[in-house]
């Protein structure tokens, strides 16, 4: 909806938008700043914080004292593992619903979506109990499975909306040329489906990385991903602003970068195609 406006109006819009953007982004900017300060400087007034010396000390301390890298690895394994497992299960389902729709397709899709609406706390104890029974409490395997299940509806839905945009005529042409189901999948569909699959993976890694109900309730020291590790700073000892900032910066930076690439998928993935 780009309309011609006077340069003065554009300047005003620009200044206002930048001001608002910076206010919203400020907390994130601030933890970046604090993470490069000593604990003593981090609690001083904002002006003193900005003018004090910069240091990488906190990053080293966080790694030394709390084995940060272990929790980071847990986050990577849980987020990537649950997403890939989910995609593995969802691709065939989405493919068949998009290309061989039946009378029940709509019902199945809606039902899958409805499982996403189930409030986690309503099934907290049963899952907790099952985890104890199966020895999955505080294990990465258990979390991979649970996060795969809670994101599966979104994965199926996103893939379905992407697959539906692939023109069926191309598949029919391939079939006419005598392509088998296998070569149809491998040479015709896969190349066209890859961008959609990549977008789906991206958004769901982000969602799984930031998930903070099951990760907090089902892990302890061993399998805790970054969400749970950061939560341990809610009852800290002594000064901790710089350490908390350094840990936070390392926890959110990879996802911030991925998130900026996934703006478009975000709308599609989280509104289930209701807003385009």
């Amino acid at each position: 909806m780009a309309r011609a406006v006077t340069p003065r109006r554009k300047l005003f819009n620009t200044l206002l938008a930048w001001a608002v953007g910076m206010v919203i982004f400020f907390p994130i900017f601030w933890i970046f700043v604090l993470s490069f300060k000593t604990e003593g400087d981090a609690i001083s007034t904002p002006l003193e914080v900005l003018t004090s010396a910069w240091t990488l000390e906190s990053y080293a301390v966080v790694q030394d004292r709390s084995d940060y890298f272990k929790h980071f690895t847990n986050s990577v394994i849980i987020a990537v593992g649950s997403t890939l497992l989910g995609v593995l299960v969802a691709v065939p389902a989405a493919w068949s619903m998009a290309f061989v729709p039946s009378k029940r397709t709509r019902g199945i899709l809606m039902w899958m979506l409805s499982t996403k609406m189930l409030p986690a706390v309503g099934v907290l104890y049963p899952i907790y109990l099952l985890f104890i029974e199966m020895g999955l409490l505080d294990s990465r395997t258990g979390l991979v499975v649970v996060l795969m299940l809670i994101n599966l509806p979104i994965i199926v839905w996103m893939l379905y909306t992407y697959f539906r945009e692939i023109p069926v005529e191309i598949l029919e042409a391939a079939r006419m040329d005598g392509a088998s189901l296998r070569s149809e999948l491998l040479y015709v569909l896969t190349p066209m489906a890859i961008p959609g699959i990549a977008s789906t993976v991206l958004l769901n890694v982000i969602l799984a990385w930031n998930e903070a109900f099951w990760t907090l309730n089902l892990t302890a020291a061993k399998a805790a991903p970054l969400t749970a590790f950061i939560a341990s700073y809610s009852s800290p000892e002594g000064l901790f602003y710089a350490k908390l900032s350094a840990a936070s910066v390392m926890a959110i930076t990879p996802i911030l970068i991925m998130g900026w690439f996934s703006q478009k998928q975000l709308v599609r993935g989280l509104t289930f195609g209701a807003v385009k």
Partner: protein
């Protein structure tokens, strides 16, 4: 077009996802329902038998139930109001021609990607701490007494934290919707001499109605179950116990599983009421 053969293959391909989700839904749900009718105290005697609707009655008549309902409503309502109103204004602003639009957009959506435990703790300590927080420094710089944010103004503080997290979502969706608006219609209205406010009221807002509904419904579902933000800031103290948090405490902290499960069933019913409306909108779109 599809042969009998490809149909049966198609059915086979849906099976894994369907079976997994069916199990994920039915098994824990059945257990919650079962527990909700029993006196079940894992640490104090275990399963003590059938009690009918006793847990359901006790959950509602406990002194913490109505305050939890009020807290939930204030948080959900407050965050919805702030994110939708500011989200519309921001979307309108970002839709205007301006320099560096892409960068501003990145700045605005960034909070959505910050994990809930980080944003909860960063706001609690680096901003709202009454001694060393950013706000306390600001207040003192102007000679004012710093506010004890999370204890004296606990609900507004939480609404602020959660709104900061969800504003990007509302803005992004509303912006997407505004950008799909037919600009000719707006130009025609402009030529006819319609003032900006009238153009907003009669053209833009009706066009956004659907997107706003979607934002409200989806956010409601997520906001009803916010957990980590409360867990790391107040842990349910200072009147911040939502329905979700109350159930969590009943189940895991005081290990009264029967009572907590009855609460869980209420939460599931509540979420389903919201879900029905959302599903109707999504379903309509599916037919197009």
């Amino acid at each position: 077009m599809a042969t009998q053969h490809s149909r049966s293959i198609a059915r086979l391909m849906i099976a894994p996802a369907t079976i997994l989700l069916l199990g994920w839904m039915l098994v824990p749900l059945t257990m919650t329902l079962y527990f909700s009718f029993r006196k079940y105290l894992p640490l104090r005697g275990g399963d003590l038998g059938w009690v009918g609707f006793d847990n359901y009655v006790r959950f509602i008549s406990s002194s913490s139930f109505w305050p939890a309902v009020a807290t939930t409503l204030i948080i959900v309502g407050g965050v919805l109001f702030i994110t939708v109103v500011i989200g519309i204004l921001l979307a309108l602003l970002l839709d205007q021609p301006l320099w560096g639009q892409g960068v501003v957009r990145i700045l605005v959506i960034a909070p959505f990607f910050v994990m809930p435990t980080v944003s909860g703790l960063v706001w609690k300590n680096m901003f709202m701490d009454p001694v060393n927080g950013f706000f306390a420094h600001m207040w003192r710089a102007f000679g004012a007494e710093p506010i004890q944010w999370l204890s004296q103004a606990s609900l507004p503080s939480l609404v602020m934290i959660v709104s900061w997290q969800w504003l990007p979502f509302a803005t992004l969706i509303l912006l997407t919707a505004i950008q799909s608006l037919d600009s000719e219609q707006l130009e025609a209205a402009e030529m006819d001499g319609a003032k900006p406010l009238r153009r907003f009221w009669h053209i833009i807002l009706p066009h956004l109605a659907r997107a706003i509904t979607v934002v409200v419904l989806i956010q409601t579902i997520f906001l009803l179950s916010i957990f980590a933000e409360i867990f790391v800031t107040t842990a349910g103290a200072f009147g911040t116990k939502t329905l979700t948090y109350l159930i969590f405490q009943r189940v895991l902290e005081s290990q009264n599983v029967g009572l907590g499960s009855a609460g869980g069933v209420y939460a599931i019913i509540l979420a389903n009421i919201v879900a029905i409306f959302l599903m109707r909108i999504v379903g309509k779109n599916l037919d197009k």
